[in-house]
């Protein structure tokens, strides 16, 4: 895979890109498993193209309440990653990671934000490490930003930049969990649209 196009390849939906992306996410689950101290696996993965203007519809519309963990990708190319959860699902994930009974977490205070931020950090790092290893290009994640608000509000700054260059983005919807409990999140990877101009 051309180093320059390492992230951009993901947006073309090419077979090689899908393979690398899938491998990256499996690696992200390995990291999450280490964090949780129990096996967390991807149980399903759907990779597809979505119009930028319709991205918020994936989460119930622009006013839908979501929790998102946002990280930037820096390196030879830049980009962004966002992991999006329904709030109750995010709370379940926190309970799973903190070995608490399901239903314990009911709000996003400092501790819960920190936990989700660490989840994003681990997933992002493991994902990018896999991409780096398989493309020969070094990528690093930024510190995570955890947000809980309307989907449109959280995503519009990111989507605004994309809209100038592309009408569509590729997204990966995943379901993951332990043998006993399932959580589902949507993992979006968006390369810096300025790549095309370089």
């Amino acid at each position: 895979m051309e180093a320059r196009d390492a992230l951009q390849e993901i947006q073309t939906g090419s077979h090689d890109a899908v393979k690398v992306f899938s491998g990256g996410f499996d690696n992200a689950m390995a990291g999450l498993s280490q964090m949780a101290g129990q096996e967390i696996k991807v149980t399903s993965m759907d990779f597809r193209k979505v119009p930028v203007k319709d991205v918020t519809e994936l989460f119930g519309g622009p006013e839908a309440l979501i929790i998102a963990v946002y990280l930037e990708i820096t390196g030879k190319s830049n980009g962004q990653m966002v992991v999006v959860y329904e709030p109750n699902v995010a709370f379940d994930l926190i309970d799973l990671l903190l070995c608490q009974p399901q239903g314990t977490t009911r709000e996003l205070s400092e501790m819960e934000r920190s936990t989700l931020g660490e989840v994003g950090n681990i997933m992002g790092s493991f994902f990018l490490n896999y991409i780096s290893d398989n493309t020969g290009v070094s990528f690093q994640p930024s510190p995570p930003a955890v947000m809980m608000d309307m989907a449109g509000a959280i995503l519009d700054a990111t989507l605004a930049g994309l809209m100038e260059f592309s009408d569509d983005i590729y997204i990966m919807e995943t379901v993951f969990g332990t043998r006993d409990r399932q959580v589902s999140g949507t993992f979006l990877v968006m390369p810096d649209p300025g790549l095309e101009a370089r």
């Binding site: 608000d149 519009d156 700054a157 990111t158």
Partner: protein
């Protein structure tokens, strides 16, 4: 040659929802113009209370220099004069127009990020500058902060309401 702006707005009854970069002008008494889930984006509401004509645009980015035939509603510096032109074409008088703004938030202040989430304050600066150039007074604004907003403009009264997550709509 005049540009053609193709929009397919989401509509339910007389409630119109503007996507990013979209605009609408209406004089229908029952019409409600809205922007849902604004983060860094800004809803600019323009209203002529004598003839009850109003318009809204969903601004996404601060500035574009050069032709924007395909989407003038997207940028703060082009959207404001464009919306004013559309409102006056439909009966509004420029010297009677007032503006209200909502949005322009910075949804995260987490350290170590690029300036993506600071787009809101840049949007706001461009919109305010454009309104000043056009000499349209800013009657009210609910902008900045770190929360998302849903905005509605009611054409029969000119009332603008703003709602945040978990809150009730309050008049601007």
């Amino acid at each position: 040659m005049s540009a053609i702006y193709v929009q397919q707005l989401k509509q339910e009854g007389e409630t119109f929802v503007l996507g990013m970069g979209e605009f609408i002008v209406s004089s229908s008494p029952g019409a409600v113009l809205s922007c849902i889930g604004l983060g860094s984006c800004i809803a600019v509401c323009i209203y002529d209370k004598l003839v009850k004509v109003g318009g809204m645009v969903h601004i996404v980015l601060p500035r574009h220099d050069g032709p924007v035939d395909d989407n003038p509603g997207r940028y703060g510096n082009t959207a404001v004069p464009f919306l004013l032109e559309q409102v006056t074409k439909r009966g509004g008088m420029k010297n009677r127009l007032t503006a209200k703004l909502a949005g322009g938030a910075q949804m995260t202040t987490a350290p170590g990020l690029r300036d993506t989430f600071k787009t809101g304050e840049r949007n706001l600066a461009e919109v305010k500058a454009a309104l000043e150039r056009e000499k349209v007074p800013l009657a009210a604004a609910d902008v900045g902060g770190t929360t998302g907003r849903t905005v509605k403009l009611f054409i029969d009264t000119g009332v603008v309401t703003v709602r945040t997550v978990g809150g009730i709509a309050r008049e601007l």
